[in-house]
């Protein structure tokens, strides 16, 4: 069933960011803003005016720039939790697989072509 070499490469904890209290402390504002997007009213406000929305959560200029660039690895490194960031992804039309392809350094089509059953999405 599992055939693609690209799917089963070796996992190294050195290559991921373990989400711990240090990361949460660092990325608190990013996560707080993303968490607020559970509300449809807030999602509409975000879509209407991203800059004002970031201002409301007092993001630093560096954090704002990561959001503007949709730099998902940068946001993870800045303390963002992936499940919080996914809520931002929904609003800015970057689904999880788009986010993932970017984090791997691939385009979306290359990433999808590496999957065993891409209809299961």
């Amino acid at each position: 069933m599992i055939t693609s070499q690209k799917v089963s490469q070796t996992f190294h904890t050195q290559r991921v960011t373990i989400f711990n209290l240090t990361q949460l402390h660092k990325g608190y504002k990013i996560n707080e803003m993303c968490t607020s997007l559970r509300s449809s009213t807030n999602r509409a406000a975000y879509s209407a005016d991203e800059e004002s929305y970031m201002l409301r959560f007092n993001l630093s200029e560096r954090e704002k720039e990561l959001v503007r660039k949709r730099d998902w690895n940068g946001l993870i490194n800045a303390g963002g939790n992936i499940y919080c960031l996914m809520k931002l992804g929904f609003v800015v039309h970057h689904g999880l697989y788009h986010m993932g392809a970017q984090m791997r350094g691939e385009d979306f089509e290359t990433f999808m072509a590496s999957r065993n059953g891409k209809g299961a999405r």
């Binding site: 996992f11 290559r15 373990i18 559970r38 449809s40 690895n73 697989y97 791997r104 059953g117």
Partner: protein, 284 residues
């Protein structure tokens, strides 16, 4: 007396929920997943399950990182469906059993598991996907349920050994409950997946198959590992949620019979299933 009659380990991948809502169960790439649950649903119906304890993790749907419990138990007559960022899924509200939850909390705390007790909880895909894979929610859920939420997101996480012992405490709690309830415990999450960084999408089918073997036959070997060991031996960073299967397995006896098993890894997560049945009269 209440009795645990079945244990299930199952993935709770959110895209399964999306496929269910779109009625895509029979599409080419989803069929191998959904078909595996057809006999599981029948088996559970034949076992006449009254109540389900769902060991799951929230994905910042209801619980936020401002205050983050390690173990939390729902103590309500019902549980709403949470908006995870894409709107609320069209599923009936989950029916709870307050009396059972209260007795469960009393027993767990007396067993020195100092759980967070929640008068109000809303549930996300971590809870709902396993529930609608195992039970038909239409027109209403055929069972009541207790959500047992575990921190698998914010490290430090509970150790695998702690999860296994929580399962053993769950069994004691169930067996001290006076009503004749037939109970299933569902451990959810996994199997291998990593959802961040350059290793996004890495799965390890060999790890997953070994995990399915061990959870059935030698769970104490898994319970002896650390979270880091589990992640590095193939679970991946987000796949560490497999520790929740150990809660389920700890609640079952050594002499369970495996009735179903499935594995499918189409996209970014190894989707595992195991169904275990207690043999009548088996002890811990």
């Amino acid at each position: 007396m209440a009795r645990i009659v079945a244990g299930i380990g199952t993935s709770h991948v959110p895209s399964i929920g999306g496929a269910y809502d779109r009625h895509a169960q029979n599409s080419r790439d989803w069929k191998p997943l959904f078909d595996a649950y057809i006999p599981v649903r029948k088996w559970l119906a034949d076992l006449r399950i009254d109540h389900v304890i769902v060991v799951y993790n929230d994905h910042v749907g209801d619980f936020t990182f401002d205050k983050y419990p390690t173990f939390a138990v729902g103590c309500s007559d019902g549980y709403d469906i949470v908006d995870e960022g894409k709107g609320i899924r069209p599923l009936p509200k989950v029916r709870g059993d307050f009396d059972f939850s209260r007795a469960l909390c009393e027993s767990l705390v007396s067993s020195e598991f100092d759980i967070t007790m929640c008068a109000r909880m809303s549930v996300d895909h971590g809870f709902l996907v396993p529930m609608h894979l195992c039970f038909d929610p239409n027109p209403d859920w055929p069972v009541t349920a207790t959500p047992l939420e575990v921190n698998v997101l914010l490290h430090p996480l509970p150790t695998p050994a702690r999860c296994y012992r929580l399962g053993q405490a769950l069994r004691c709690a169930v067996e001290s409950y006076p009503k004749d309830l037939r109970i299933a415990v569902i451990g959810t999450g996994g199997l291998s997946h990593t959802l961040q960084g350059p290793d996004f999408g890495v799965m390890d089918p060999e790890f997953d198959k070994r995990f399915l073997d061990l959870i059935e036959r030698d769970p104490s070997a898994l319970a002896q590992m650390s979270c880091r060991d589990l992640m590095e031996s193939g679970a991946g960073s987000e796949g560490i949620e497999v520790i929740m299967w150990l809660v389920m397995r700890g609640a079952l006896s050594a002499s369970v019979r495996r009735v179903h098993r499935n594995y499918y890894g189409p996209m970014t997560t190894g989707m595992g299933l195991i169904a275990l049945e207690e043999t009548p009269g088996s002890g811990v």
